[in-house]
Assembly symmetry: C2
Homo-oligomer: 260 residues x 2
């Protein structure tokens, strides 16, 4: 037997629990300090147009790692990991329809599968907290009318996350999140939701809001659901993603501004 | 006849001079305030591996714009421009060999040509100057032994630019250039050139240096020549680039931190 590593990273320990099938629940607010990523797996034939879409829309679609076709190891962000087993839960889509949720995608992985790991705003919540902005108890996800730059059949409106903040907190948030370009960077909007076509009464995630509370303003960030939504509406033959809130935990430190 | 535009951007005016063949000289230190980009044109069959190479090496290879196959208009960074005519000078490479320099590539442009515009460190020199760091009279370009992350046949060592700075200037430069992730961001190294395998006696560009002057230290940034060198060593059937120092002038303001 191999000796246990002297000091195992908490990110590696978390992934091994997932690989063993003992961790099938959400990752949100778990393994603090490590960058969590959204996963999109597409056939190689779809990968170019999708990658160009991400490149053209870096705020919602910051690509942190991309695997070679058929290779499930994200070498830059988590060497030794296996993207077929090391997430707690996956969603399988065929031609844009969610077919099943699974905890292992080995039987769906193909020799032409390409995995994209896309940055998530979860990573800057800890940094905001250390800067004196209390963690949002609720993060909304909303559709908007902000257009994205299309690539091939990949297109659609930008999806955003929303957090309530006092004006003073919003100032801190603008300064601080701008330093995390791989986690959606600075806000895309502050204030009136209608200005970006966001409907708080009908959010994708979060409770309906009929009235903005006194003394706070909504602050909006580009969201990693955007590329997933664009990929879905493109109806690729096969697409595999993380199940919502069940992200991939990388070995990258969230406080590193730059990725590999 | 169309009426003249009320206020033409200096970037548009510069490109029209180039298109008309009246501007065939360098762009360095010209059209201040506008982002200048390195150009790499490849056949579509080569574009995916090259784009993945850029994505895996964002410090030397920040992709600012990428065109659809066959379309010479960089829609995000310079709407209305034509990349076949709007640079002052191009270099044509076949299987890695520089064949000719031309001022117009219309006859070499194909229905499967894809153009990549890659950020350049020229863009932050003005910002440094405004922050009290005098413009470097000389910028060296050097090979290093810093490995890049390969993609397909695209690989090689990182190429860097070097500027002399006092320690106080270097501190300002670290803070300031980190805010320009699309222009190579913060330095990759400071101090001893040997630590990154840089040979000041044999630079790619700049006079040989046998001794570092008193009171200054060398500061090194990732350089946009890196992807060009990787593409060259991959010997693609056809590659077209800007001629050195004859870059593409976009409509993007250099002080905008984020690109489209």
């Amino acid at each position: 037997m191999d000796p246990a590593p002297v000091q195992q990273s908490p990110s590696v320990a978390a992934r091994l629990e997932m690989r063993a099938g003992r961790w099938t629940g959400p990752t949100q607010f778990r393994v603090p300090g490590f960058v969590q990523c959204n996963l999109v797996v597409l056939p190689r034939a779809e990968a170019y147009d999708f990658l160009v879409y991400c490149q053209r829309n870096p705020k919602p679609c910051p690509v942190i790692d991309i695997t070679d076709a058929g290779d499930p190891e994200p070498r830059a962000s988590a060497p030794g990991a296996d993207l077929r087993t090391d997430l707690p839960r996956y969603a399988i889509y065929r031609k844009g329809v969610r077919e099943a949720d699974v905890t292992d995608i080995r039987e769906h992985w193909r020799s032409d599968s390409v995995a994209f790991l896309i940055g998530s705003s979860l990573s800057f919540d800890d940094a905001l907290e250390r800067a004196g902005v209390p963690k949002s108890t609720e993060v909304w996800v909303l559709n908007t009318t902000i257009p994205t730059h299309p690539s091939g059949k990949y297109c659609g409106g930008m999806v955003v996350t929303m957090r309530w903040m006092t004006p003073a907190q919003a100032v801190i948030a603008c300064q601080l999140t701008g330093r995390f370009p791989y986690n959606h960077g600075a806000p895309v909007h502050m204030g009136d939701p209608a200005a970006i076509g966001a409907d708080l009464v009908h959010p994708i995630v979060g409770p309906p809001v009929s009235r903005i509370p006194e003394g706070v303003m909504p602050v909006f960030w580009a969201c990693g659901v955007t590329p997933q939504a664009a990929a879905l509406s493109a109806k690729p033959e096969l697409m595999i993603t993380h199940a919502p809130a069940h992200a991939f935990v990388t070995d990258l430190r969230a406080d590193q501004i730059c990725t590999p």
